[in-house]
Amino acid sequence: MGVQYFAGVDVGSATAKAVLVDAAGTICAHVVVPSGGNLTLAADRVLAAALERVGAVPGDIAALVATGYGRESVANRTKTVTEITCHAKGAHVLYPDARAVIDIGGQDSKAISLDAAGMIRKFEMNDKCAAGTGRFLEVMARTLEVPLDEVGPRALTADRPAKISSTCTVFAESEVISLLAQGETVERILAGLCLSISQRVNSLAMRAGMAPRVIMTGGVAKNTGVVRAIEKAVGLPLTVPDQPQIMGALGAALLARNEAVK
């Protein structure tokens, strides 16, 4: 019998992520794919891709924890755990001194405060509206015809942020178009959008309670413009892992490992 793996599958609104860890908890494979319209299919695809990386088959998975908005769509799961617990777990294992996590994904933003043992003290989530999340940035980047990965670097070159007053994604889009028409630079608008996101996240962060070290996870953590803006708003430096998107799936895989040990 070959190596046994513990799998975490995080099906989010924008992307599906899979992480395989071994019995020691070391990451053996991680994959990110777009979620698309069929969440079950996305979960299957992302897990198959991860297994392929290590040359394993589904039978090599000792336990699987599903998380994320599509967690109920994941086949063959040992159990489901919310993304809040998974991000906290992932952050705590990589950074044992983590006391807070800010996670911004496709539709959700969350602020989580942790105690010294990595247990969640309190969490806050955006509710009812996806303004200030990954989808918001995607829409704006498309409107401004800026590739998503250039949003952050270009925002950081602005001398000052443009003023974006609307928090609604649709209204903010028309506001961006008006700003362009008024001759505002793309860089200032991008900086304004990053500022707008940071202000929304900061109100969650203040409610949850922030203390160093703060880890930022989720796809939006790849955007340096947003990261710098949140650091300024929260007043604390953020630690961004190499692969911020997979933190939920990593936490899930580590919880799967705990599950199998039980």
Partner: protein, 380 residues
């Protein structure tokens, strides 16, 4: 559970599936019906006058009529109740009793009066500060005036009839309080959703009828003996009205047990003291001012934060979930203080804003599950 209690619970639950069906049927067969918007309405007076008192709780669905007349920050209880009234769904109510709890309700009473000229609107203005001689004498005058307004429609109400209604309501309240005690001690016997159905249906049904079903229901549960306790996190629920049963249901589906509450559709409305002897109007004054205050009122010496901590501890609750109706300003002004007391006591809290007339949002399930995970991790 045997068929007797199964049947009673079915009745309570079916009333909650369609709040007003019972009252509408009663009205169709000639019974006079009085709607009451707030639990501070002296239901005993309405009952003594021959009315079937029915709680006004809005209803599920959109509110296009009310949206024309109410500002965006009126709560979903006001909005959906008023929308139902404007569409004629509440025409079976002969009168509607409002309380001066918040600006929205105070102004809704006037709007209601002008929009539904054939429906008598009565406003009960309980004193904001509920203790002291001035509060007592003021409220005595208010209730005398309310009695006169009702009598103008119903004919004279005798003191004996009021006393009989007070006694009936007290008997019913005692039963509900016994059910709360039972759930606190043997939480596996009755779920939060079931108790919510008992309480909500009691505000919709004829009191004698509800009592007739509730007496054997409680007695049977009390004699159920030892049931194997479930090892689920124990949760206390606090909040405003909670007519949307979906939230408590989804909360329990997330893997916890609701073991006690401070809800208007719950313990708070059944916290009136035993009726004092003597003049029945004086008794009503003492009972309604002596109850556990809702956040719209102030009782000197009553600290809502300390109260919640004490109740949560007494119920051995691991956490508190606040189901606050969105835009319920009396509750939201209290919340920061109450939450601070909870944090100081080391009891985790989860705040959820509820739109009473809309389905439970998917995100609520995630937050409820995450909260249960937090409580479980804390217990380990």
């Amino acid at each position: 559970m045997d068929s007797g209690n199964g049947t009673a619970l079915e009745v309570f639950t079916s009333v909650c599936d369609d709040f007003y069906a019972t009252a509408r049927a009663a009205a169709a067969s000639g019974r006079k019906v009085a709607g009451f918007v707030c639990s501070y309405a002296p239901q005993e007076l309405l009952h003594a006058a021959g009315y079937l008192p029915v709680r006004v709780l809005g209803r599920p669905g959109g509110t296009p009529r009310a949206d024309q007349l109410l500002q965006a920050y009126a709560c979903s209880l006001a909005r959906s109740s008023f929308d139902a009234a404007l569409s004629g769904e509440f025409d079976f109510m002969d009168l509607v009793v409002f309380s001066h709890t918040c600006d929205t309700m105070q102004n809704l009473a006037d709007l209601w009066r002008s929009s539904r000229p054939n429906q008598k609107v009565v406003i009960v203005s309980a004193p904001t500060v509920t203790s002291g001689p001035a509060a007592l004498s003021y409220y005595r005058k208010v209730l005398a005036d309310v009695r006169e307004q009702i009598e103008a429609l119903s004919g004279p109400i005798s003191d004996e009839a009021i006393r009989a209604s007070i006694d009936l309501y007290a008997r019913h309240r005692n039963l509900v309080q016994r059910l709360y005690d039972l759930r606190r001690e043997h939480s596996e016997l009755i779920s939060g959703r079931e108790l919510l159905a008992v309480v909500t249906s009691s505000m919709m049904m004829d009191k004698e009828e509800h009592l007739r079903l509730l007496e054997p229901f409680v007695a049977e549960l009390e004699s159920a003996g030892d049931v194997k306790a479930k090892r689920l996190p124990r949760v206390f629920v606090a909040g405003s009205v909670c007519q949307n049963m979906g939230f408590v249901t989804a909360l329990e589906e997330a893997g916890c047990m609701v073991v006690d509450d401070d809800l208007c559709m719950g313990g708070r409305s059944f916290s009136l003291p035993e009726p004092p002897a003597g003049d029945p109007m004086d008794a009503l004054v003492e009972m309604y001012l002596g109850r556990r205050p809702c956040p719209a009122f102030h009782t000197p010496g009553f600290d809502p934060g300390a109260f919640l901590v004490e109740r949560a501890r007494a119920a051995r609750a691991a956490g508190v979930v606040f189901l606050l109706t969105k835009f319920c300003d009396p509750w939201f002004f209290d919340y920061p203080h109450v939450n601070k007391s909870l944090e100081a006591a080391g009891i985790p809290g989860l705040l959820v804003e509820v739109e009473q007339n809309l389905p439970v949002p998917e995100q609520f399930r995630t937050r409820a599950e995450a909260f249960v995970e937090l409580l479980k991790a804390k217990a380990e």
